[in-house]
């Protein structure tokens, strides 16, 4: 398994170059209500104007601290949340303009794997049914074929056929995550949002799940949006990476370019925090001061200026432009 993952690294290409998912200036604000009459007194700007596109067959990584809006983007892409503004196109269709029946049809093409394998499975539904029910509900397979299809998919995901009649509480975290992956995979989707699929698992299991996901991508030509706060996982799995801070995209580049030549001070700080298994190596660790500001009241100008080691007056006043630095490398910083 680990061998094939290494191979994947070498043959990694940035997909077919044709965009499958296009996100344009996406905004998602959650209202804050207060007072006796539940009036809207403000907004949490979870996602504040983010644009990117994901090519068919590629995996796009999204990294950032917790609370920066990564998961909200994933969910809004699939319209599990309603957007506030902007557009999301999947295969040329505007996901947020579809009717309920059109959306239901599209659901088979885009799937999600959740972060928490414990709360994302219904405790009262047997594993076999949990994996297969969507096929049945969409009328994609007859009742007779269902069990074979489910068991086939379970085997692909590293589960055994005797797991079919078990309840989720009989499984460990890693196995549950395999169930979650099988549930998404059985629909034969083109696009999967992986919302921190390994962050709830311990390290040895993480590697198994990541290898499973990269094997599946190669075999099924899947497109991933891989949300994570673990940079080494993203480096291993993704073709391109976007770095988010407080609801905005700070930097986006192909993986190798980003890791060898980070331009944004926030990205540099993140990179310096990746542990390196070499005790003799002396590194310059960039430690950010202060806490992440509240997304309900984001700082003026560049959102990062309150913690940026390079911040100057212009950062407080002007929102930095999101510039193309060549090599598909985009960055939003006055000094890059």
């Amino acid at each position: 398994m680990s061998e094939s993952a290494v191979q994947l690294d070498k043959t990694r290409s940035s997909g077919s170059g044709e965009p499958l998912v296009q996100v344009n200036n996406l905004k998602k604000y959650f209202p804050i209500t207060g007072g006796v009459f539940q009036r809207r007194v403000g907004d949490v700007r979870a996602v504040d104007g983010v644009s990117f596109s994901i090519n068919r067959g590629e995996s796009f990584g999204l990294v950032g601290e917790s609370g920066c809006g990564k998961s909200t983007i994933g969910r809004t892409l699939l319209r599990l949340n309603e957007k506030t503004d902007g557009t999301v196109h999947f295969n040329g269709q505007d996901v947020h303009e579809l009717s309920k029946t059109e959306l239901r049809k599209l659901r088979t093409k885009m799937q999600i794997v959740f972060q928490d394998p414990f709360s994302s499975l219904n405790p009262r539904i047997k594993v076999g049914e949990a994996i297969g029910e969507a096929l049945l509900d969409h009328g994609l397979v007859s009742r007779k074929e269902l069990k074979d299809r489910v068991i086939e998919t379970m085997k692909i995901c590293g589960l055994a056929d005797y797991h079919y009649d078990r309840f989720p509480h009989e499984f460990s975290g890693g196995q549950r995550q395999r169930i979650g992956i099988a549930r998404a995979l059985i629909m034969q989707p083109e696009f999967i949002v992986a919302d921190e699929p390994v962050s709830a698992l311990d390290v040895s299991i993480q590697a198994q799940i990541i290898n499973l996901m990269s094997d599946l991508q190669r075999e099924k030509q899947l497109t991933y949006l891989f949300i994570s706060h673990d940079l080494s996982v993203v480096e291993h799995l993704c073709n391109r990476v976007g770095v988010m801070y407080l609801g905005t995209m700070m930097e986006m580049a192909p993986t190798e370019e980003l890791f060898s030549n980070p331009l944004h001070p926030y990205t540099k700080a993140l990179m310096s925090a990746i542990p390196v298994p070499d005790p003799t190596l002396k590194r310059e660790r960039i430690v950010l001061q202060g806490d992440i500001p509240s997304p309900a009241n984001p700082p003026s100008g560049c959102k990062f200026h309150t913690r940026c080691p390079m911040a100057s007056d212009i950062c407080k006043q002007q929102v930095p432009e999101y510039r193309d630095m060549g090599n598909e490398h985009f960055v939003a910083c006055h000094f890059a």
Binding site: L80, L106, R107, S119, R124, E133, D137, H169, Q175
Partner: protein
């Protein structure tokens, strides 16, 4: 590389299976440890046996009168005595039990179906459905139950509904008046469940609404439905008895525990012939107490927050 990983995983899995039990098994085990609830269950089972099997062993029939032994005290001939028409009290108590228990169960079943469905719909769709259903529930809650029941009972008498058919109307009326509490419980439960991640997963899978409600949400509300229904049966039996006692529920000659007590509605019967009213009264008391004990036991057994197993 592959082998040891697999082996540890299998080992882990075996350990897991030994350690974790299904929620139902845990509930059964906890219920079995609750002595009072078990006593309640045993009493209720005995009550059912007496009412549904007992009459087959009686030498009398329902409306048979023993003219020579009217108002007789308990004797070897009539173990619990006879009433003023010379009917055997013991047989009538058993047959009345059939009626009272059936009315209680069916009425509760009706209110559970209505309450659970409306509660689930209100909690799942929210907005207008929620507002409308919950306002109707408020109206039902604001109605004084007993006066309404008395009025409806009087209407039934006025329409000259045959005594045998009256029972069905009675079940329906008690059932329809009793759904509100459960609807509120189910609704609030579903409001919390629908925010869980596994419900987001059903949305992402594009499942139909009825599958989301009946396959994913409702099974998770079964514990509260069971508890509420159990306690509801006791309430329905009491309501039926009260109505029948007032002559507006089950009417003679069909016996029910309530209208049998009503037979002792004068001072002489009450003071001099306790065998007329004590047996049905004891039956109501024992049955309702037993059901309430079971209900309390179930509530403790099904409550996931109770840690001492």
């Amino acid at each position: 590389m592959e082998q040891p990983e697999n082996r540890t995983e299998q080992l882990q899995e075996q350990l897991k299976i030994v350690k974790t039990e299904s929620p139902w098994k845990i509930a059964v085990r906890r219920f079995a440890k609750n002595r009072l609830a078990l006593i309640g269950l045993v009493i209720l089972v005995i009550m059912f046996l007496i009412c549904f099997v007992g009459p087959f062993f009686s030498q009398y029939t329902l409306n048979e009168t023993d003219v020579k032994n009217r108002n007789s005290a308990p004797s070897s001939l009539h173990w619990l005595g006879t009433d003023k028409l010379g009917r055997d009290i013991m047989l009538r108590v058993m047959l009345a039990g059939r009626i009272s228990l059936t009315v209680g169960l069916v009425a509760t079943a009706i209110s559970v179906v209505i309450g659970a469905t409306l509660g689930a719909v209100a909690g799942f769709y929210r907005r207008y459905a929620d507002t409308i259903i919950m306002r109707i529930a408020d109206v039902f809650l604001a109605l004084p139950t007993l006066p309404i029941l008395i009025t409806l009972g009087a209407i039934l008498s006025d329409l000259k509904v045959a005594p045998e058919k009256r029972i069905y109307f009675l079940m329906l009326i008690i059932g329809i008046l009793g759904w509100v509490g459960l609807a509120r419980l189910v609704r609030s439960q579903i409001l919390t469940l629908r925010e869980q991640e596994f419900m987001q997963a059903t949305e992402a899978l594009g499942l139909r609404d009825n599958r989301k409600i009946f396959r994913h949400l409702m099974p998770n509300t079964i514990p509260i439905i069971i508890v509420s229904a159990t306690l509801g049966v006791a309430g329905a039996i009491l309501t039926e008895s009260a109505l029948s006692f007032l002559g507006l529920g089950v009417v003679p000659p069909t016996p029910s525990w309530g209208n049998m007590i009503n037979a002792a509605n004068n001072l002489i019967d009450f003071r001099k012939r306790p065998w007329i009213w004590i047996p049905p009264g004891m039956c109501i008391l024992i049955t309702v107490t037993a059901i309430n004990l079971i209900g309390d036991g179930l509530r403790d057994a099904l409550d996931p927050k109770m840690k001492n197993r």
